[in-house]
């Protein structure tokens, strides 16, 4: 069994195609590790019967020599993706009984390419949070320093924890302000947020429509490339989906970075960053230089306004996107004697505190009299941040930053919302600009927690992002396994 779990996605895929292993045994190994690591709480729904039947189907295709790119690969799906006939709750009580009759475009793309579903992964409620503590069914535990009960990060905390704990070969995530990259950093895995528009949002429970983007959480950069190859694609059903063909990312793994220019923004090394992270950030810069990249200091002057702008725009859109959860047509309804009372009780009982907080902030910033001062101003800031990046990309090819200001923190150590929001300080600017970003593990801090470094590329340059990340990955040689991972 252990050998099966040791294979990363690309290796497993090769072994499957060479018929050294079967999808059924691989899938069973993962189902066992789901049960072995169940105390982490990464999964909120396990679909064993479906997984076995999909694995058998894949084995047939593998035997017939008509294997598709992800044939037989068992993966977990963040609970923000609607999955046909499988409960989809967005980790919220208000959707605890919701079973979609449709499949999201991204997950359908994965099934069309042969992937096998293991189950649905926990996340912060409606993807709002940075610690996975807002999930209705309770937080997920980071497999690193398992006994200390560390946060896996969020919102894709279940996805990151499952990949780190080897209870999924890969997982899908969604990233609105850092929800793929931050948990990937906390859990010592790779997380890629593509360019806004690269993956269809159709069938993904909406949090903030202008920011939400699906992406893979995987063990390695090549795994991420293979996953994204299948997830991405133009979709007529999403008007914001980009009608651009993405090149086969697997062709870009070993392109190297000789002569490439890497920008180091001065705004990302402010106070408050942990020393270990600074150390590994500097190491990373050195590694890239050693591999032939030119390191160029750059400035993204509006960075400090990114977080406030984000915490206006995202809640504003969320307050409107979540209006549909009203108890009228689906989800949990609290019966009451009048329509207004039914709304109030349904939403008061159905949403958790963080969701309510953001709905209230969003409602406030869109209110007449406040709209110009908050929402409109935030949109202007967003434009300036975009321009910052545009200016920098005239001079450099990629930007290197830490993924987070700190490594994971202990669960339950109640942080105030503002401190929590600071977790996203390095991921939010790229989100606002719609740019692709990847976080990959480069080392451990003194306490043994993974450190993530972020690379940001220009719009639709996922290929270059993969090439660069791969160089950093090779140099860092991060090969630690979480103590809480399945053995």
């Amino acid at each position: 069994m252990t050998e099966l779990l040791d294979l990363n996605l690309v290796e497993a895929s090769k072994a499957l195609k060479k018929k050294e292993i079967s999808s059924l045994e691989l899938t069973k190994a993962y189902l066992k590790s789901i049960s072995d690591t169940s105390s982490l709480g990464a999964y909120i729904e396990i679909v064993e019967v479906k997984a076995i039947s999909m694995a058998k189907e894949s084995d047939k295709k593998l035997i017939d020599g008509i294997a598709r790119p992800l044939e037989g690969i068992p993966i977990g799906i963040k609970d923000m993706f609607c999955t046909k006939n499988i409960k989809t709750t967005a980790s919220s009580k208000i959707l605890e009984n919701f079973i979609p009759t449709y499949e999201s475009t991204v997950t359908q793309n994965l099934w069309n390419d042969g992937a096998v579903i293991l189950g649905k992964l926990s996340c912060d409620e409606f993807a709002m949070g940075s610690s996975n503590e807002t999930a209705a069914k309770g937080n997920v535990i980071n497999p690193w320093l398992k006994n200390k009960k560390m946060s896996p990060g969020g919102s894709s905390g279940g996805s990151a924890a499952a990949v780190a704990a080897r209870s999924a070969l890969a997982a899908t995530g969604t990233d609105t302000g850092g929800s793929i990259r931050q948990p990937a950093a906390f859990c010592g895995i790779t997380g890629l947020k593509p360019t806004y528009g690269r993956c269809s949002r159709w069938g993904i429970v909406a949090f903030s429509s202008s920011l939400d983007q699906a992406g893979p959480l995987t063990r390695t950069v090549s795994d991420a490339a293979l996953m994204l190859n299948s997830m991405a694609g133009y979709d007529q059903k999403d008007s914001t989906s980009a009608n651009l063909k993405m090149p086969d990312l697997m062709d870009y793994l070993d392109k190297g970075i000789k002569g490439k220019k890497i920008g180091i923004p001065k705004e990302y090394t402010q106070d408050g960053i942990s020393e270990d992270i600074v150390k590994f950030y500097e190491k990373s810069i050195g590694w890239l230089r050693d591999e032939g990249a030119e390191i160029i200091p750059v400035s993204l002057p509006h960075t400090k306004y990114a977080l406030p702008a984000y915490y206006i725009i995202a809640p504003a859109e969320a307050s409107s996107n979540l209006a549909r959860y009203d108890g009228v047509r689906y989800g949990v309804r609290q019966e009451a004697s009048s329509l207004d009372e039914m709304y109030e009780l349904t939403r008061a009982n159905g949403f958790g505190d963080e969701v309510k907080r953001r709905i209230m902030i969003g409602t406030y910033v869109l209110s007449s009299g406040y709209y110009d001062a908050y929402y409109l101003k935030a949109q202007k800031v967003r434009r300036l941040i975009k321009e910052d990046f545009e200016n920098v990309y005239k001079k450099v090819d990629y930007i290197l930053t830490p993924s987070t200001p700190t490594t994971s923190f202990e669960l339950g150590k109640k942080q105030d919302p503002l401190t929590m929001y600071l977790n996203d300080i390095f991921t939010v600017p790229a989100s606002l600009a719609g740019l692709p970003g990847i976080s990959l593990p480069v080392g451990l801090d003194k306490s043994g927690l993974p450190i993530g470094i972020q690379l940001i590329a220009n719009s639709f340059d996922e290929a270059g992002l993969i090439s660069t990340a791969r160089v950093l990955e090779m140099s860092a040689g991060f090969n630690f396994i979480a103590d809480g991972a399945a053995k």
């Binding site: 967005a90 007529q236 059903k237 008007s239 914001t240 549909r324 007449s368």
Partner: protein, 490 residues
């Protein structure tokens, strides 16, 4: 008291003087599209409840709107027909409010950047006068669903068939000064929409509804505080509601009161408006650009293509009818009111006496249809048959009087006029010798009258004509009778 009978429409006589109405209309026109504005569900009317509902319409989690391009084209077409500015970039906004028949919790509409900007139309009034009414804007938006409160003692039922159906909201400037003008304006808009096929204009089925903004002022003063009367679905109600609302406002102002800006409903049973919600209770809709949709952008050449394909519109058609058929401006206005009328007329009048055709269509046909309670499309008389009747009159086959008899028969039997004339032997007699026979008989029967006439009582001439016509059972050609009688009685 002043004499109110000389008061102009739209003016109200109060104790303190004459008040003038200021009216602006918001017309909601359902686009004639098979599917909804942002989903593929059917937009048809009259289906069983909740049959035409897609995942998008029901606002299921993760569903996204995709714009229906046909609807965009209809809005542009309408904008062009309203002589309005077409905005090549426009934006969809979300109008947020909670209601059980609004599944998304917001209506997708256009707020700050509508697809169509300012324009104007010419409106024909009943007295034959014309006036120009400004168009403020036209925007695209989704319709809401329907709440049914009468199906269960304590529960409401929701029908989402209408949810997401494409509407155009056409907003006028506050240029309208009387209920009658408002009615004429709606008529003109409806006529234009039907000409271009953007909306069927069916007010009974709710395809065309209007919200009326009404205020009153003394002539020359600033606009007063307005009230909005919601959701009026007939021109008659629009006229009644505005008149009654304006009178209510005058009563309040005359007593020294002030008007509260509010939304009101028109009660068709009492003919009065009543308060629906005050300004304080008004929603804060929290409009913001819908992040699920990109701005609508289209090229000037696309607009030009649509412009070139526009059918001839009522105003230009009216001018052409006057010029080509020599009919009066008044008749032409009536005929261009509906595309069906004008098509019928042009077919019937083609190569014939245009004036005569217009008279027969407007006076006889419209009158007969009204009497029989038939709509124009149900007319038993086809344009071909009316044209034939006009020909029979013009070429002297039948007299005008006989034609009326034939016409009633046509209404009843749907037969062609020549068939009826033949069957009943109604051809006009124009043959001199036959008419002379009749004249001779009348003269011999009325020798005393002939003597009186010859001794100078000219007025009796009509009597002789009448007698001859009577004897011919109306079939004698009156012109020939006249001519021959004159010769005979010299």
């Amino acid at each position: 008291m002043n004499d109110t009978s000389t008061l102009k429409p739209g003016h109200i006589q109060g104790e303190t003087g004459i008040w003038e109405m200021v009216i602006g209309l918001e017309i909601h026109a359902q686009i004639s599209s098979k599917s909804k504005l942002f989903s593929g569900a059917s937009a048809s009317f009259g289906s069983e409840a909740n049959r035409n509902v897609s995942l998008v319409d029901a606002a299921m989690p993760g569903m996204l709107p995709v714009i229906n391009e046909f609807c965009v084209e209809q809005a542009v077409k309408t904008g062009l027909a309203l002589n309005a500015k077409i905005n090549n970039i426009s934006v969809f906004d979300r109008k947020n409010y909670f209601y059980a028949d609004l599944p998304q919790g917001y209506q997708i509409s256009q707020f700050t950047k509508p697809i169509v900007g300012e324009g104007e139309i010419i409106v024909d009034l009943d007295d034959g006068e014309q006036t120009t009414i400004g168009i403020e804007r036209l925007h695209l938006e989704q319709d809401a669903g329907k709440s049914l409160h009468d199906q269960h003692p304590t529960k409401s039922y929701i029908d989402l068939n209408r949810t997401g159906v494409a509407l155009m909201e056409i907003v006028s400037k506050p240029d309208i000064r009387s209920p009658q003008e408002a009615g004429a304006y709606v008529k003109k808009i409806r006529s234009i929409l039907r000409y271009i096929g953007a909306c069927d204009g069916n007010m009974e089925e709710g395809s065309l509804r209007a919200d009326c903004n009404v205020s009153v002022r003394k002539s020359g003063e600033e606009f007063g505080t307005r009230c909005e009367i919601k959701n009026l679905n007939s021109i008659r109600f629009i006229i009644q509601a505005i008149q009654s609302e304006a009178e209510r406002q005058v009563d309040i102002l005359e007593e020294g009161g002030t008007i509260d800006q509010e939304t009101r409903l028109f009660d068709t049973s009492t003919g009065e408006t009543r308060s629906m919600r005050s300004k304080e209770d008004a929603h804060d809709y929290r409009y913001f650009p819908d992040p699920d949709l990109l701005p609508l952008e289209f090229s000037e050449s696309w607009v030009q293509d649509i412009k070139e394909k526009l059918p001839e519109l009522p105003d230009s058609l009216k001018k052409r009818l006057i010029k080509d058929f020599g009919i009066t401006s008044y008749d032409a206005s009536i005929l261009v009111e509906e595309k069906d009328y004008v098509d019928f007329y042009q077919q019937a009048a083609n190569g014939r006496d245009g004036k005569l055709t217009a008279n027969w269509m407007i006076t006889e046909l419209f009158g007969a249809l009204k009497k029989d309670n038939l709509s124009f499309s149900e007319s038993p008389i086809t344009s071909e048959n009316l044209g034939e009747l006009i020909s029979l009159i013009s070429n002297g086959t039948i007299s005008g009087k006989i034609a009326k008899e034939v016409f009633s028969e046509m209404m009843k039997s749907k037969k062609s006029p020549s068939e009826i004339v033949k069957e009943k032997g109604l051809e006009q007699v124009s043959d001199d010798s036959e008419i002379l026979k009749l004249i001779d008989q009348v003269i011999s029967d009325n020798q005393d009258k002939v003597n009186e006439y010859l001794s100078g009582k000219d007025k009796l001439f009509g009597f002789f004509v009448g007698q001859v016509m009577k004897l011919s059972q109306g079939k004698a050609n009156p012109g020939v009778v006249n001519k021959l009688l004159k010769e005979k009685l010299k």
